[in-house]
Symmetry: C2
Subunit: 249 residues, 2 copies
DNA sequence: GTTGGCTATTTTGCATTCATTTTTTGTCGT
DNA sequence: ACGACAAAAAATGAATGCAAAATAGCCAAC
């Protein structure tokens, strides 16, 4: 029998690894920890449709474990905001309203804004060079209309700034929120907006400039605005997915 | 026999009596949810010494439940950063290094900075009036050297700003980090520094001013600096607890 | 054909039990 | 007396069992 989600009928395939039998692993990490990592990735990757009900039993079979460690992992994922636990009704992948997304984007903007400010206090010339390198690389993707490469490099730039802030607590929080947003495939159509794309490139240049000058509060401002604009573009696309010129040149 | 923490011998008294009355039915009627709320408060209040080992069995007896829901709550608290779970060695209250505190303060600064920026977009005149009211109240505490009242009102002001940001995600994250810091009684001696106290009052006036003018990025800057100064004062006190003039006039 | 109510099955929540791992304790030898 | 080693005790991690709640299934009534 195929495993399906009763509510939606969407089939769920197990995450990587052994599907059913208990190969004896060197228990380097605890089971619930392992499950947590796998489930988190699984959810973040978007393998489970939003709001879909996923019975514990099914997940247990899928992961080849009992319910106890699974439930522990689910509690953590709920605390992280990835799923929600309805009393006596099981776990559902958290459905993000447009308002939720706006809020998330703003918080991300605030965190990156903070990261930029802190980075200016501690960043080395080498790190700036590395970011410049990424910037040029991204510019190449932009010229070639390589959306995927662009987004990848763009993400690395922002992560570099966060890393340069030298604040593990910030980094963890950043990853957490980033994971919540990543579920939403908002960016799929973003690159079609050529105008916004060009704008983003200019903003990135301003970011680099402020970073070079170690202008903390200025960079903070620019980063916030940059993310704000990103938010606007992303949210628009949720309501009207098709727009502007086609992606291919 | 009295229930004690083996490692330290410090007795642990149960959190608020569970004499059958229920008041916090917010979104958790389930047992693990209730346990989570109670344990979180219990830890945040500082009832368990840092790094102290607390056997599950003991907590279970204390709370009158079995280990399953307790362990679920512990996993969540660990995810929140309040405690840490050592594999096969149980849960310990997380010990914050000076670096951890610095990081936490900076993140708090970033979140409040963000809150101020967002608040400028949405705050009403009535809310500003309310904050002004709190400000005068706080000024009274300042004049009377009422440290406790001052801190209480100060906290309400900052919470009001966060509330005015109209961002539940931000508010939740803010509460989370605030809880982590609250465990540390850093503020106990802060008010003894008269100079810093006067400085903080001036900063608060600048905050109000920027808020009235809805000057978002300016307020963002001021708030960050304000929290940064707070951080400096707090951290200093961890290394040299006694300083400056006595509190009583 | 649809709606309302009743029963059966599934699913969740928690307690209990089992298996390792860690910690304590007791003993022996030097 | 002190330290090393071994056995006992206790603690943790995971699986299973059981009661309550929720879902679905079914039949009758309109």
């Amino acid at each position: 029998m195929k495993s399906t989600i009763p509510d939606t009928g969407v089939p769920i395939t197990p995450p990587a690894g052994n599907g059913g039998d208990r190969q004896e692993n060197r228990h380097e990490a605890s089971l619930h920890g392992e499950i947590l990592l796998r489930l988190r990735d699984y959810v973040v990757e978007g393998n489970i449709p939003e709001g879909a009900r996923v019975p514990e039993r099914q997940l247990c079979e899928m992961l080849g474990i009992s319910r106890t460690p699974l439930r522990e992992a689910l509690k953590v994922l709920a605390a992280e905001g990835l799923i929600e636990l309805l009393p006596n009704r099981g776990a559902r992948v958290r459905q993000l309203s447009q308002r939720d997304l706006e809020e998330l984007f703003d918080v991300m903007a605030g965190l990156e804004s903070l990261a930029g400010r802190l980075a200016c206090e501690a960043i080395t010339d080498e790190e700036i060079s590395a970011i410049e390198q990424l910037h040029y690389e991204m510019y190449g993707h932009y010229l070639h209309r390589d959306m995927h490469g662009y987004f990848q490099t763009n993400q690395r730039i922002h992560e570099s700034i966060v890393a340069a802030a030298r604040n593990e607590t910030l980094k963890t929080a950043y990853s957490n929120f980033a994971g919540r947003i990543r579920r939403v495939r908002y960016s799929a159509n973003f690159a079609r907006k050529r105008q916004r794309w060009a704008e983003a490139m200019r903003e990135h240049e301003a970011i680099l400039d402020a970073l070079r000058r170690r202008a903390g509060s200025e960079l903070s401002d620019i980063l916030f605005q940059h993310l704000r604009n990103k938010r606007t573009a992303a949210i628009e696309h949720l309501t009207e997915p098709q727009e502007d010129a086609p992606a291919a040149p």
